[in-house]
Amino acid sequence: MAETIATPDTLAIYVHWPFCRSLCPYCDFNSHVSDHVDHARWRAALLRELEHYAELAGPRRVTSIFFGGGTPSLMAPDTAAAVIEAVAHHFILDEDIEITLEANPTSVESAHLAAFAGAGINRVSLGIQALDDAALAFLGRTHSAEEAITAIEVAAHTFERYSFDLIYARPGQSVDQWRRELEQAIGRTRGHISVYQLTVERGTPFYLAQARGDLVLPDDPVLAALFETTQEVLADAGMPAYEISNHAAPGQACRHNLAYWQYSDYAGIGPGAHGRITAAGRIHATRQHRAPEIWLHRVEDHGHATQTNEPLEPQSVVAELVLMGLRLRCGIDAANFRARAGMALDEAFDPVTLRRLEEGRLIVHNSDGLRATPSGRQRLDSVVAALVV
């Protein structure tokens, strides 16, 4: 039987802004296009739901706030300011708090970056996705490569910390092309970059295109070569992967995302936001209503739009710890595992499976904890399945 889980003293806060100017054909996040966003009502609702979660979580030290979306750079900067102020009101702010805003690199949004800095944002993550106009058009982005570079320059000028995203494994992309694009991007970084493989998700236009045969992604050997090239090029540039898709110079890792991967407590505010919050000795999984209008009405009527809030079974906690923790280069810390799962690492897994994966040099298991080797991270979905299925 698992022990009761002690409530941690820290909390990360995620705030979801569900609106976009247009939808990208690959994106399956909770995004919606709307011309009539009542910013005052949305600000008030976000603040009310934050208050609800402040009561649930109790007194905590907040280590990060992350405005994600959707396109949160379309938010009114004073909404961000109000949320940050409210967090400061309900909680203690860590002196090193990281407050990130996801932003699209259009010229309009670049012009607002300074206002967001004034609101208290201290880090931006730009959705650059590609440095090639044809690739940007394919990905349904509304910005050009030139706008993207301007946005990076504005971010570099406005914020001490910034990052941007790239998407690889586009149709027809060769390893050489990708290497050149990556090297070009490295020159624009300041210690952090996220590189995601293009995946086709159900319910997206790309899914339909792929089903019809109109979209053909690179095959497995090419995917593997692209992944390996990414690892190699970015490590050489001093930004090794600290997580499957995230690369940073020492000390530049995104603290908010680390909270997910280390399976710390986080509150999710806004439509469709997810949270993990410890209460009464159990870790609870929370999810807010996805549909923006329904979310808004529920919050106005009930103070929150929580759709689920359920304690997780010990086996689910173990699965989530592994799912998230093994994505990190440093892996799962034994003490953290025990604190979050309420059981020791050694008790949680089949020793034969552990030994088999170790002999295959896919994982390293010792008294410090459990981590995947580079080869194991490259095949992490199967490694995780072997461990927890």
């Binding site: 992944f227 699965a319 490259q378 095949r379």
Partner: protein, 600 residues
Amino acid sequence: MTDLSHIRNFAIIAHIDHGKSTLADRLIQHCGGLSEREMHDQVLDSMELERERGITIKAQTVRLMYSARDGATYALNLIDTPGHVDFSYEVSRSLAACEGSLLIVDASQGVEAQTLANAYLAIDAGHEIVPVLNKIDLPAAEPQQVREQIEEVIGLDASEAVEISAKTGAGIEDVLEALVARLPAPEGEADTPLQALLVDSWYDPYLGVVALVRIKNGRISKGQRIRMMATDKAYRVDRVGVFTPARTEIDALGPGEIGFITASIRAVADCQVGDTVTDDRMPVEAPLSGFKPSVPVVFCSLFPADAAAFEDLRESLAKLHLNDASFHFDPENSAALGVGFRCGFLGLLHMEIVQERLAREFDLELIATAPSVIYQIHLTDGTSIDLHNPSDFPDVTRIRNIDEPWIKANIIVPDEYLGAILQLCTDRRGEQIDLTYVGGRAMATYRLPLNEVVFDFYDRLKSISRGYASFDYELESYRQGDLVKVDILINGDPVDALSMIVHRGQSEARGRALCVRLKELVPRQLFKVAIQAVIGGKVIARETVGAMRKDVTSKCYGGDITRKRKLLEKQKAGKKRMRQYGNVEIPQSAFIAALRMDDN
């Protein structure tokens, strides 16, 4: 009861598709057994499968009342027989119930392998045989040539063969007249103790067990107490009747007659086909000479595709067995495919038919292992075992030698395909016994090991000859063979369902083919997968499925771990269908696909 001199009992024998069932329909129609409205094609082939494939599986009988040209009315008892070699056992017992046969030959096709096999069975049964040339309405009909063929290949006088078209109805009355004139009337005494041959039995959902009998002497009436001589069990007769073809109850059956009885018999197994039925109070001293019991010669294992359907499979096999006691089934447990049954069949077609009936009538999805024959394994300690399941194969050091069944096969084929057919026979270790030509067609007689025939021989024969070759065989003898058991190993662990017993000369090719096929089917894993074919400890073929190079979703899930965890939970459910081999897990579907490809 009909006077003996006005009874004729006959069977119709033919190669498949030569028009046996159509002729039976015509005879029934001519004699008024069914009105035009009741008539539908091939009334005697009552099973859906029989009608669809145009073959007869179970023997059927019908009594026809024919007003002959001589002014008298005759009772003609027709037994419709299966044409295929697998059912030669059913053919012989049907033949034992009659005095003569109509041998149907398609006048456009000529004598085929089953024509020959069935004609010999009828000759062996002492029958008077009336050759009938069917389909004379076809432009391609060559009645004169076919007459010569019958005389040369079978050795029957065909000068008085009846020319008919079962399709148009031409010549039907000539057939009936030939039956009356040329077939002998049955013999027997009415006033002696009952002596009847149990020709067939089946389970009817309304009547229970029904027994088909041919009365030799005495009579059988409703209410009579009868005794089955082999099982030594007594019953009271509930019903006596004949099929016209509608089931018609009558008071009694007398000598020379064929009909059915029911007697509150619980199981088909209590009605041993070939048994002698006698009167319980006045039994005859000696039973009639019966038949050899049918023995399965081809075996395979059947597994439900969905393990949860095992009980359904058991029940369905039991139900099917009520009507077809000739197949055997015993529970079997396979590490690769789960629980299922080891089944024995009379032949390949029989195997196919049972599988198809299970699929169709009981809605079961089945996986069948490669068919096997019965090997006689002589051990060094002087004992012998009969073995049909490769998983029961003893340690090679204990084996002195292995005998395998050989068959004598007749293949009749148009000239132009003969070369390829002879090559196929040679490839399959065949020994030529005879080769004759009759009118543009060749008849090759070969001795072949049965295990070479159960492995896709028939399919190859058909494809090489574009469907024109016909083939029939009989089991001949057991002969010593250089046989080995080939095991398929996955990362060192044997996959029981894929083991096979083959001739050493073919072992490498067969082993390699299976390894190559599996390589295509086994998904890439975290670790490389070695697929080996081995004989004892010796590797004869090897293929490797390389480890997967990349399998990670690099997408950022944000805080939404739930979706990913739910995916894992789904995988957990799928794990039940995975089989662990060393450090890798192989989906059961890979083995299923490997076995399915065997069929093609």
